[in-house]
Amino acid sequence: MTGATLRHAGWILRGNPLTGIAAAGVFMLTLVALFGPWIVPYDPIVSDVPQALMPPSAAHLAGTDQLGRDVFSRLIVAARLDLAIAVSAVGISFAIGAVIGAICGYAGGKLDRAVGRFVDVLMAFPLFVLAMAMVAALGNRVENIVIATAIINLPFYIRFARAEVNVRRNVGWVEAARACGDSHISVVLRFLLPNVLPAMAVQMSLNLGWAILNAAGLSFIGLGVKPPTPEWGIMVAEGARFISTGKWWLVAFPGLALMLTVLCFNLLGDGVRDILDPRMRT
């Protein structure tokens, strides 16, 4: 099975090298997030005022900021926080949304309609504003960014799992599982959910990029992460003050980091879809 999957993945990657590049990018990003603090050339927090606002050079690859901190080091160290926020937010909304959605899709009826309307209401809000309001109300902390991001992602997972389960609720193997002595809840959790996971994995990959942007956006407007913690959104926000004086590297590099990260996740999502789609296997 795994051998066949790997061979299949190899086939997809040959046909679509962008997926390979994206996968390599995400892998690199993960390494950076894990080992970043130990490989950076400078301490990301300690200021070195004489060196402030230096343009990119051999000593400071991405220049320095207004306190003389090495932008490159801060970028590297920030990867862990940004990725952690995104992964935990997406993980929470996936875990809750998939179960709720799957139950609704299987049960149908009143429960399904009630949850469906709740989701509609949630989606009627401008999601970013909703996240802002939640962080403001819950308290300006990183955990609350995670919770807010998880909640605004929830509708997508509920809807997605609901639709995927709904088309499968009447297939033969679901009835067969019932005949083999499984209760309804066990059919949902042990049969239907594992079968919709591949499709949800695609959604998760696309969503990770979006969650990173969301977290960065919240810290950009001063919510959640506080200075001097290195975080891409804050770095863009702080750098924005200097852009009019031509200090472009303060904004450009964190912006580029954000863009490349999101791009990698999106491209990977498309590739994952191709790899997991059984119809592509013939």
């Binding site: 193997w173 005949a179 083999c180 002595g181 499984d182 209760s183």
Partner: protein
Amino acid sequence: MTQQLLALRDLYVNFSTRRGPVEAVRGVSLSLDQGEMLGLVGESGSGKSVTGFAITRLLDAAGRITAGNILFRGQDITKISSGDFRGLHGAAMAMIFQNPRAALNPIRGIGEQIADAILAHKPISRGEARAEALELLRAVQIRDPEKRLSAYPHELSGGMCQRVMIAMAISCNPALLIADEPTTGLDVTTQKVVMDLLAGIAAERGMATILITHDLGLAARYCRRVVVMEQGRLVEEAEPKILFRAPRHPYTKRLVAASPTASSRIADLVTEEEGANYVPKPVAPKPSPAPGTPPLLEVYKLAKRFDQGTAAVADFSMAISAGESVGLVGESGSGKSTTSRMICRLIDPSEGEISFEGQSIGHIPARDFHRSPFRKAIQIVFQDPNDSLNPRFTAFDCVAHPLLRLSGMRPGDGLRQRVEECAERVGLPVELLTRFPHQLSGGQKARVGIARAIACRPRLLVLDEPTAALDVSVQAVVLQLLDRLRREDDLAFLFVSHDLNVVRMMCDRTIVLRNGHIVEQGESRALFDNPQTDYTRELVEAVPHIETGPFTTFACPPESQSIV
């Protein structure tokens, strides 16, 4: 009249796939005269459809004609440009597809769609085209054609949609009609009406027809000449009577033997050589049950109404005794699946009583029935082996699943042994147990489904069209397997099927269901040989048999001549 219209000469079609090129058609040569109806028969993967698609140039992008030529009116149409070919499409040759609903545009009225087909080839106004469409609907015997002209495909039944497809195909009076499984998926009575219509129209308009089908009986009934394909090769060509009485090629022999007829028995379904391996256990004379023993299953006045209030099943009563096999036949929408699922306790009846070995089980909600001790005793085999196995379970997991759930076995204590024993009983090679469903063939999947159902040694097995999705040679083997298991375990069967020939062989008694009501029931042979109601008679007569022989003396059956 006997001028040659179409000739294939040593045709090869290749498909490029990931595992390299696959030869779908290997050196097929055949010819077709004007006005002739030729049957192209074979099982799945035989290349019969690909041959049809190659003639009409509808092969998908991966397929290519690699050698040979196709002469249409003496012209090699493999060489002409696609622009010239478009002129031939519709005007000179037309195709009818298997699933009419999928072939029609769902958001356009059928009158418009027929008019489109006409306008593609004739320089007339849309109004005139609509008038012609109306005439065509009349020709295909659609009732109230004026009203139907603006109907959408979803408002019509499957049989009606197929008539619309036929109307479209004949709209420009093509010389060649290719019908690819035109009635597969239609009920047997609808199949007869549609095929009679098609044969009648073809004869009346002098159209040559290639009937591509897996059903030998259908080809025998309507074609004067039948060619048999196997794995891309043409293995035999003959008049149906000769072909079915005295098949020469070993493959044809097997195919003919495997096709159930009105008189065949389970043991007849294989050729004599293979038959040597199948020795049915002599049936030990059953001790008649002690008087007062309740039947295995008793159903009294069962009814099911869905939300809309219409009754899917009403007033259904029956009984099955241990080891007995009862057939439940009916057309689509007759309520046979609903009934079988109620008996299986997968859905709740609206009214009525179900008792098993004298104990009432009808009152246990289907939601909780998985905890009932009777869950083990009533098992089900599903129709489509492709969708009845969890794609993420190996064959082993599938068979082990009921053992873990219902027999309270734990991984370890002899589970592997039990699963392997089940696999052996259904003739599934043990080494295949590690495979996932998509790595198994249709027949192997069917065996896994049966192994799963018998794993807990049930007393009653509900079989919901267990062979409907299988090729006829695979069906033969699966039917023999089921029959053997029944004898060995003294299993009772509730055999749900639309295939009367199969039910006649497999079942002691048969119940005919129509619109949720029992129309007729009785001992199978008596019921089919001497039906008491018109409906049953209609059903029985509609079944095409290979020994009926074709209507060789006239190209179309008499009853349709009067109508067209």
